[in-house]
């Protein structure tokens, strides 16, 4: 089963429709620095 309702997945043009809102994206970050999320170190 792919879908309970008989409908085709819609298509749209492959272009950016949203973005450029770093404050919205980072507003809930547990830790941030400038426009970046701060995460635990993952490289040795």
């Amino acid at each position: 089963m792919t879908s309970v309702i008989a409908m085709r997945l819609p298509w749209r043009e492959d272009r950016v429709t949203d973005g450029g809102r770093p404050e919205d994206i980072l507003g809930n970050a547990p830790e941030r620095q400038d426009d970046y999320f701060v995460v635990p170190k993952v490289v040795e």
């Binding site: 309970v4 809930n28 170190k41």
Partner: protein
């Protein structure tokens, strides 16, 4: 608690337009009722200032004669719908302080229609439950109690806070979400109307995702007419949800003609389950009699695979839940519990951020999706789901609607069934099949148990035929003619 909170949504709409009271007076009456009812724990976040601001705008529009469809109507929103700038928790510790920067499509539709936000209602954590007991913020409490006894009862779940708030007259209507019965089951247990529309009717954009192929938003109200009015504004095509259906919605209120003559209603025999109280069976027979008296033709139908619905559901549901909840890793939003390294941070964040039921479903979900077990569990469950869908399709070639009980029992005591997750899951036995098949279903208050607790009947319809479901539901509602109101409204919250 007073005349302004006791009225229906439809009556409030007329009263506002006739200037019998203002939107601010209506909002204030509900804010006061919510404050007085904190013992029910129906709300996680109250938004009285926002409500009064929105009501003031409604009063300006009403004065100009520019009232929108739900102008000035105070509503409660399940705390699973993202509300811009207002904390949205999903009933979980992991989102305890999450403030969404955007608005869910369904709630945005309601504000665009002029509705007023009273607050965000309590729910089972991530909507996983049938009792509201799994909420990180503590259980919401049913305003109904057994006659002569005060022991608090569950409001059902997962939309338990919404159902309790509507039943206790703290709002004129509320939103819920229904993944396996989370609107219809609490509606039944709280003696109100609750509808899960067809999958795709309401956009899932901005609703915290649980099991994406099953989740669907819908209204909880005190009458069928109110349900139609609210759904009319919640629904609609949304390009932000790829599963949103671009199917026109008729004027639902206009379809409530009271005329159901000639409608064919099927009675699925397999929904008769052993060990269910005789009063559930009696209510079901009564529902048949009401519909027959109104001119419907009743006939038995067979949905033989129904017995596999719950097992299949409890594979598909945790599988999708575990995939969706993988996003809560403590990196970009939500709780982070620092560990020794990245893996330890993930583990600690999830161990402390998620409650028991959520952890249980994540574990089951990852197990049934794991290499080597995927075919045996997930793929098989999907095949069962196709069988169930095919059976419904065959049934709907012969009948227009199906009539079943909403729940296998009335509201149970808070604390019951807690040590047995399977007993808790069985609450959804009558509601789950409609989710697996994406069909619209409604629960209508139809009677009281011997203990004086509400019981509902469920109608299930064809895909995108909410109109027929609502039309027949209104006939059941009228025939049942329930006058009883929750004991809470006489003597306050049970202790």
């Amino acid at each position: 608690m007073n005349e302004l909170t006791r009225m229906t949504l439809a009556a409030a709409r007329e009263g506002l337009r006739a200037k019998e009271f203002s939107a601010r007076e209506l909002a204030r009456a509900h804010i006061d009722a919510i404050e007085a009812a904190r013992g029910l724990n129906a709300f996680i976040t109250e938004t009285p200032e926002r409500a009064l601001e929105m009501a003031a705008e409604s009063d300006r529009r009403l004065a100009r004669g520019e009232a929108r469809p739900l102008e000035g109507i105070p509503l409660a929103i399940k705390d699973l719908f993202c509300t811009a700038g207002i904390r949205t928790t999903a009933g979980s510790r992991i989102l305890e302080s999450f403030v969404p920067p955007y608005e869910s499509t369904v709630s945005a539709n309601l504000w665009r229609a002029g509705a007023v936000l009273l607050g965000k209602t309590n729910l089972d954590e991530f909507a996983m439950g049938s009792s509201n007991v799994t909420s990180f913020f503590g259980p919401a409490i049913n305003p109904w109690t057994e006659s002569g006894a005060e022991a608090p009862r569950v409001p059902g779940g997962s939309s338990g806070g919404s159902a309790a708030a509507v039943a206790a007259e703290l709002c004129l209507g509320a939103t819920g979400t229904d993944t396996g019965g989370s609107i219809r089951q609490p509606a039944s247990l709280c003696g109100i109307v609750g509808m899960k529309p067809t999958y795709g009717r309401c956009s899932r954009f901005g609703i915290v995702a649980f099991a994406s192929s099953l989740d669907q938003a819908g209204p909880l109200t005190r009458t069928v007419r109110d349900c139609a009015l609210l759904l009319q504004q919640m629904a609609g095509y949304d390009p932000n949800d790829s599963t949103s259906a671009d199917v026109a919605l008729p004027d639902l209120e206009a379809t409530l003609t009271g005329d159901v003559r000639g409608l064919k209603v099927g009675i699925p025999n397999e929904y008769r389950i052993e060990g269910s109280p005789p009063e559930i069976e009696a209510l079901w027979r009564q529902g048949e009699a009401w519909l027959r008296a109104a001119g419907c033709e009743l006939q038995p139908v067979s949905l033989a695979h129904s017995r596999y619905a719950l097992p299949a559901y409890y594979i598909v549901n945790p599988a999708e839940a575990s995939s969706n909840l993988a996003r809560y890793d403590g990196m970009r939003y939500g709780l982070r519990v620092e560990g020794e390294d990245l893996i330890d941070t993930y583990a600690k964040t999830r161990a402390q951020g998620f409650g028991r039921e959520v952890r249980r479903r994540v574990m089951i979900g990852t197990y049934v999706l794991s290499a080597g077990y995927y075919d045996a569990y997930y793929l098989k469950a999907q095949k069962v789901r196709t069988k169930i869908l095919d059976e419904f399709k065959a049934a709907f070639e012969r009948v227009d609607l199906l009539l079943t009980p909403s729940t296998p029992s009335a509201a149970f005591r808070i604390g019951d069934k807690m040590d047995d997750p399977v007993a808790m899951w069985l609450n959804d036995v009558f509601t789950v099949p409609a989710n697996l098949a994406g069909l619209p279903g409604i629960s209508v208050p139809a009677g009281l148990s011997a203990d004086g607790l509400p019981l509902g009947l469920q109608l299930i319809g064809r895909p995108f035929d909410e109109a027929t479901v609502l039309r027949a539901a209104a006939v059941l509602e009228e025939a049942a003619g329930i006058e009883a109101r929750p004991p809470f409204l006489r003597r306050g919250a049970p202790q």
